[in-house]
């Protein structure tokens, strides 16, 4: 039996989600844009999912735009707002520890002549809201902040950031991809203007996500060629994927408190064991503001990629750094932004627990880990 501790990469699809998707795939074959009865049936599936997603994040259903996942949502938010605001302002603000699906669109906009300010993170990985405020100018078209970091699990003070950004009349985009389903993500608590997420990070299907756009904000579409999603995202709806997303959202809303508690207990069991059994380790990130399911540990003087391979051989799936196109592992940009050296970043592993993780699995990992770390440390860090 494999032990899957990489829920921040992707999560297993819940049975309830798979059943709903299979039902839609088999029985709901219409196009939601069609005027006939088959179309109406499909449209009802899409709209039910929209209500569930809206309820999860405390937005209005009309503010939810279905996409092909968080990367598309982030691209749509950044390019959409930048293009719509082009005449008014060509300045964008973000942090130094963003996901590539935010960082790379911003770099592309920078190449087009936009100015991008990257607010640093401190040694714990936190963004200072006052530093965000200080970065704002009359030309700032958008602020984009990662709600919870995928690599460290550090949760940013987004409520405070939203407050200072809105006080200046600048729209805020939050990439909530890792936060959804793990902590409360509600736009009545955190008044952001745009929010991105992906179903597969909270036990939904891959290839299905959403962008929330509050109010009637102008957003230039990325995919043109259809009036779907109020003209904001052309293309026939992925009806089974959207239905699956809706069920995953409903489950997340219903179970959030229990999930957080369960995950935190497993994560704490893992860290307590590592700290007790493995010498020369440290936790990355601000422990007080952390996703309940994520543990990022530096095993000093070890090669994280080899440790990953050694654990894989024992049936345990974890993550190290960021995978490049070829599948080799690069040091984490987030850890470098936190001031870690390349060697320290390379020595770090991410464990992320979730649905299906058990205390017995954690105990099994703790039984194997000390020897594997010692073995990997013996080869040094070349």
């Amino acid at each position: 039996m494999r032990i899957y501790l990489d829920h921040n990469a992707t999560t297993p699809v819940r049975d309830e989600v798979a059943e709903a998707m299979l039902r839609v795939l088999r029985d709901v074959s219409g196009n939601p844009s069609s005027a006939h009865a088959e179309g109406a049936l499909a449209r009802a599936e899409v709209e039910r999912a929209r209500e569930r997603v809206a309820a999860l994040v405390a937005a209005r259903p009309s503010e939810v735009v279905f996409t092909g996942g968080a990367t598309e949502s982030n691209n749509l938010a950044l390019f959409g707002i930048a293009r719509a605001a082009d005449a008014k302002g060509r300045h964008l603000v973000t942090s130094a520890a963003e996901h590539p699906s935010v960082e790379e669109p911003l770099a592309a906009l920078e190449a087009e002549g936009f100015r991008v300010t990257r607010v640093p993170v401190d040694a714990d990985g936190l963004v200072d809201p006052d530093a965000v405020a200080a970065a704002l100018t009359p030309e700032t078209a958008l602020v984009s902040i990662l709600w919870a970091n995928n690599e460290t699990g550090v949760v940013q003070p987004v409520a405070r950031i939203a407050e200072v950004v809105r006080a200046r009349g600048v729209p805020l985009h939050v990439d909530a991809t890792q936060a959804i389903g793990k902590i409360a993500v509600r736009l009545d608590d955190v008044p952001a203007d745009l929010l991105s997420a992906s179903a597969h990070k909270f036990n939904g299907p891959k290839g299905s996500g959403f962008l929330v756009v509050r109010g009637e904000r102008a957003l230039t579409p990325w995919l043109r060629g259809g009036s779907q999603e109020r003209g904001r995202r052309g293309g026939t709806h992925n009806v089974p994927g959207i239905a699956g997303l809706g069920v995953a959202a409903a489950l997340a809303q219903r179970e959030l408190g229990d999930r957080a508690e369960r995950c935190a207990s497993l994560r704490d069991q893992l860290w307590a064991g590592i700290e007790a059994k493995v010498p020369r380790v440290r936790r990355n990130g601000a422990t007080a503001q952390m996703l309940p399911n994520t543990l990022c540990v530096e095993f000093r003087d070890s090669a994280g990629d080899v440790l990953l391979e050694a654990l894989d051989g024992e049936g345990i799936a974890v993550s190290a750094g960021a995978a490049c196109a070829s599948g080799s592992v690069h040091p984490s940009r987030t850890l470098i932004a936190m001031g870690r050296s390349v060697a320290e970043a390379r020595a770090s592993l991410r464990f992320s627990v979730g649905h299906g993780t058990t205390s017995a699995q954690i105990a099994r990992v703790l039984a194997l880990l000390p020897d594997l770390v010692a073995r990997v440390r013996a080869l040094g860090t070349s």
Binding site: G313, S326, G327, S328, L379, G380
Partner: protein, 355 residues
């Protein structure tokens, strides 16, 4: 599951079949592709990595990509460029094998609980049934034999290395790949250095060490008369004819390269013969140098059939090679590898000819 073995998989047919043979033999095989160079490289391209991954999936083995690009630049590419800039003609494959496949990867294998590393080299390792001593032999396929590039392996390394295709010829390797339905069965051979895919070594030197290449220098004849100009010594290797735009009424070749003066000396073909070679960094497969000079067939570059010679070990890893008959183009930076029949005795790096 049998013993665990890590196979270095390049995405080519040879290492694909090496992995397949080990699977057939009952080993628990882990495939690893070494990512040595960034883009602009054929050996480590995304496509080759994907080929290796497909073969691994086909064989049902674990597969990883290991990034050694920083170390490769430091330990192989920069020394390669520096060697050219010093007027030598390096063969980076020897050091690459030694450091990446048989040191870094062997260490990695240990961390993964594997006892050995296997590659798709055409070479063999034999164990003496009486003494247990290991020896390194040419691959069975004389045209593909790669033992020349492996001369500096040590006995303790041989014990942890497997060359599964060393007993096969290239046609048999391709046949096996086809029979197994491997995606790489009909892939063309890679000929050039992996980080010089276009074969333009001078441009590669300039890329690795920007601003360090010498500019225009003098071409002189054996008497020291200036007979023309050249574009920088890193464009030349001893024995080369191409790139010498000089009309002296007969074919002229590079006889020697003087890095300090950025000068290339040329000579007619019959003046290129050398009766011996001075070597440094000599290594012996048996682990220790012989006490007395020995007779051997010595290959002074990869595509050299070999010349009979006596090899005299000296102190500090040096040696002198005396050929029975003069050989052409004894080139500093190349390896001289000593053979007794199919057996590799050892080898060293050529510093120059013997006057």
């Amino acid at each position: 599951m049998g013993e665990r073995v890590v196979v270095a998989m390049s995405g080519g047919v040879d290492s694909s079949v090496a992995a397949a043979l080990l699977v057939e033999q009952g080993f628990e095989v882990i495939g690893v592709t070494l990512r040595l160079v960034g883009n602009a490289s054929r050996c480590c391209s995304l496509e080759d990595t994907e080929d290796a991954r497909r073969v691994a999936e086909n064989l049902g083995i674990r597969f990883y990509v290991a990034d050694y690009s920083d170390a490769f630049r430091r330990e192989v590419m920069e020394p390669f460029a520096d060697s050219y800039l010093a007027g030598r003609t390096p063969i980076p494959c020897v050091g690459c094998n030694q450091r990446f496949k048989f040191r870094h990867l062997l260490e990695r294998a240990g961390a993964l609980g594997a006892a050995a590393v296997a590659t798709g080299h055409y070479a063999r390792i034999a164990r003496d049934s009486a003494s247990g001593a290991l020896s390194l032999l040419r691959g069975v396929d004389a045209r593909k034999d790669q033992s020349y590039f492996l001369f500096d392996l040590r006995p303790e390394q041989l014990a942890q290395i497997r060359f599964p295709i060393g007993e096969l010829d290239k046609d048999a390797v391709r046949d096996r790949a086809r029979a197994l339905g491997l995606a790489t069965a009909d892939k063309p051979e890679s000929q050039e250095l992996c980080f010089v895919p276009d074969g333009n070594t001078a441009a590669a030197v300039e890329r690795v060490r920007p601003g360090r290449a010498p500019g225009v220098g003098e071409v002189v004849d054996e008497a020291g008369r200036v007979v023309g100009n050249h574009a920088g010594i890193h464009h030349f290797t001893v024995g080369q004819r191409r790139g010498l735009a000089i009309a002296l009424g007969q074919r002229m070749y590079v006889k020697s390269i003087d890095a300090a003066r950025n000068r290339v000396t040329i000579a007619p073909g019959d003046a290129l013969g050398e009766w011996g070679a001075r070597l440094s960094g000599v290594s012996w497969v048996a682990g220790t140098a012989p006490d007395a000079p020995l007779r051997a067939t010595v290959r002074i570059r990869y595509r050299h059939a070999g010349a009979t010679a006596s090899v005299e070990p000296l102190a500090d890893g040096a040696a002198l090679v005396r050929f029975d008959e003069a050989v052409i183009a004894v080139t500093p930076g190349q390896a001289a590898v000593f053979y007794d029949g199919d057996t590799v005795l050892g080898g060293g790096w050529i510093d120059g000819g013997l006057a």
